[in-house]
């Protein structure tokens, strides 16, 4: 039995709505980009929505802290659902979550912080965990990174300190298989899953496209981190369906088709009431489209 089958249908439906919402927002962003409405760059997490929703649903979003990366729209939306301020930010409006100064990769709201330097947030998140430990707040920090960032030295300095000082942090690795255009196997030696173990950070490798499974494991690890004040690493196998940023994709269609069969939203959809799903999808599309029209002033 898949772990998803054990979860309540209502919760699964909520996960679906959040994941589908992220998908629609990001497809909208790519469309706006293609039409020249937004500039700069947009890194989407198409195909990785189960990671964002599964992990962040396991947190206490009032007190826990999230450090995200360049591919952080999904994390942001799963954290606060504030689509308007995210879209406004990327459209460059002063009402954006960082007044349009931050843009897609540099988002900050309450306990959410993202930055566009790969691996750079690992030490920062570790310091936040140290701060919360000294305060005795009970808060846990989750730091998202991709397998690409696991080639950065800063990550290992952070793992060492997090374990040495017993800090309440979960390193959440999205193994989406590509670093820009480079397949993970051509830039990493040894086992990615087991690397953190050498630092004394227990690592758990799971299917990152099964939102219920992600959520269940994340809940267990977050609970361990909170009660034991010790770091963990959650390693999630997933796949980046979209291009690195915009149209820069040179992968084989055959490979993409293979992974489309395993993508998290279709997999979850199959387990839900189809008429309810159709209703949710229509509602989400309408919400996002209304927001975009509002923000574009038409």
């Amino acid at each position: 039995m898949l772990s998803s089958e054990r979860l309540d249908q209502d919760i699964l439906h909520q996960f679906f709505r959040k994941m589908f919402h992220i998908r629609v927002v990001e497809e909208t962003l790519l469309d706006l980009f293609a039409h020249g409405v937004i500039g700069g760059t947009v890194h989407t997490c198409l195909g990785q929505e189960a990671v964002a929703v599964g992990v962040i649903s396991a947190l206490n979003v009032e007190t826990d802290i999230i450090c995200s990366n360049h591919r952080g729209h999904g994390h942001f939306l799963a954290y606060c659902g504030d689509t308007r301020s995210l879209l406004a930010e990327i459209l460059g409006h002063p009402t954006g979550v960082c007044g349009g100064i931050g843009g897609s990769q540099h988002l900050q709201k309450k306990n959410f912080y993202s930055n566009g330097i790969l691996g750079g947030m690992s030490p920062v998140a570790t310091g936040m965990a140290f701060a919360e430990k000294l305060k005795g707040s009970g808060a846990v920090v989750v730091q998202f990174m991709g397998d690409g960032a696991m080639a950065e030295g800063a990550v290992y300095e952070a793992l060492n300190i997090a374990a040495l000082w017993n800090l309440p942090i979960m390193f959440a690795v999205e193994h989406n298989q590509y670093a820009q255009s480079t397949h993970w196997s051509t830039q990493h030696s040894g086992s990615l899953e087991q690397r953190s173990e050498a630092f004394g950070v227990p690592s758990f490798a799971i299917d990152g496209n099964d939102v219920a499974g992600v959520n269940e494991t994340a809940q267990r690890l977050i609970n361990e981190i909170r009660t034991q004040s010790a770091p963990r690493l959650l390693f999630m196998h997933t796949y980046r369906l979209g291009p690195h940023s915009k149209g820069d994709d040179l992968r084989d269609q055959e490979e993409l088709d293979h992974h489309l069969q395993r993508e998290p939203i279709s997999r979850l959809r199959e387990k839900l009431d189809q008429s309810l799903v159709a209703e949710t999808e229509q509602l989400v599309r309408q919400q996002v489209s209304t927001l975009v029209s509002d923000l574009r002033g038409n």
Partner: protein, 330 residues
């Protein structure tokens, strides 16, 4: 009389005593060692929870301090040698300095990075540099380098407790043992609150013949030189801003307009340095008041040699400054 090092120690201790959100991180900083230059001697015994030795990973623990600053602490990082700032440059440039502006003023990063710079001890190419020029002009940070006549402890305490922006705090390592007292006439101006500029004069009336603008370790060379030039009846003002970036520009213009001859000197290597930027700024205001072009002194553009004789040839010292002054007067 208190030394520069004692001033640093007192500044740290006062900050730790006054605000419990102050933490100090760095390599080998706990007792009994107390840091490579002993700046934290005794502090981990008094504040064991808040004075913490780190692994050897300057980028990592600087990032940790950035995270702590974002979450309500006021961390102080010690980088054992300023040369090692290159290892934490990503955290300084793309994290520490960026967050307040990039996040539209929604966060503060009240973090002080202290580090000793400078040569003169024969440590060679990777333990003798004055790399602060790499960070001058970087938006979002302040670069501070008090000389030994400044109340260095007060400035450090201000940076830690009062300044909500990140500060790179440069301590020239040859200043540590120096007595902070001087008998030479001092003026202090506070154009930038908390970061005073001090000016020393070797004359009590009349105008200066030459004004020297310098910072940090150059005070060790200039204070005795002012005495020497007094005997030669040459009136010299030496001006030392403690804030290198931003520059207390009005103050420097004020001293620049008092005479027709200006020298700018610094220990760092020549080429795209503090003196070049300062000279350009000053020319805009003073060009028609100067009797001669501004003279700029800096270290040679080369690796700093380990051998004493070669190191002396490469770096700026009192003799070279004196020669430049007499040449400017001739």
């Amino acid at each position: 009389m208190a030394s520069y090092l004692a001033g640093i120690q007192a500044g740290l201790e006062n900050a730790l005593t006054i605000n419990e959100k102050v933490v100090v991180l760095g390599e080998d900083i706990v007792d009994p060692y107390g840091g490579a230059f002993k700046a934290t001697k005794g502090l981990s015994t008094k504040f064991p929870e808040r004075v913490i030795s780190t692994p050897i990973c300057e980028g990592g623990f600087t990032g940790v301090a950035v995270g702590m600053a974002l979450r309500g602490f006021r961390p102080v990082v010690e980088i054992m040698f300023g040369d090692f700032l290159t290892l934490c440059t990503d955290q300084i440039v793309n994290h520490m300095a960026k967050f307040p502006g990039m996040f539209n003023g929604q966060v503060d990063v009240p973090l002080v990075i202290r580090t000793p710079m400078g040569g003169g001890r024969g440590y060679g190419a990777t333990h003798s540099q004055s790399l602060e020029k790499m960070f001058l002009g970087l938006p979002g940070i302040r670069v501070v380098a008090p000389c030994h006549i400044h109340s260095v402890g007060d400035i450090l305490q201000h940076a830690i407790l009062t300044d909500n922006d990140p500060v790179l705090f440069i301590e020239n390592k040859l200043l540590y043992p120096l007595d902070q007292h001087t008998h030479i006439l001092i003026e202090q101006t506070d154009e930038i609150p908390g970061y005073p500029t001090v000016a020393l004069k070797n004359f009590s009336s009349g105008k200066p013949d030459v004004t020297v603008i310098a910072y940090g370790g150059m005070s060790r060379e200039l204070v005795p030189l002012l005495d020497k030039l007094q005997i030669d009846e040459l009136n010299v003002t030496a001006v030392f801003p403690s804030s290198l970036w931003p520059v207390p520009f009005e103050t420097l213009v004020h001293y620049g307009t008092q005479c027709e001859r200006l020298v700018i000197c610094e220990e760092g290597s020549t080429g795209f340095n503090w003196g070049s930027e300062l000279a350009v700024l000053l020319y805009d205001k003073l060009s028609n008041k100067l009797a001669a072009p501004i003279v700029r002194l800096a270290a040679a553009s080369q690796v700093i040699p380990a051998a004493r004789r070669l190191e002396t040839e490469a770096l700026v010292n009192a003799e070279k400054i004196e020669n430049a002054i007499w040449e400017l007067m001739s």
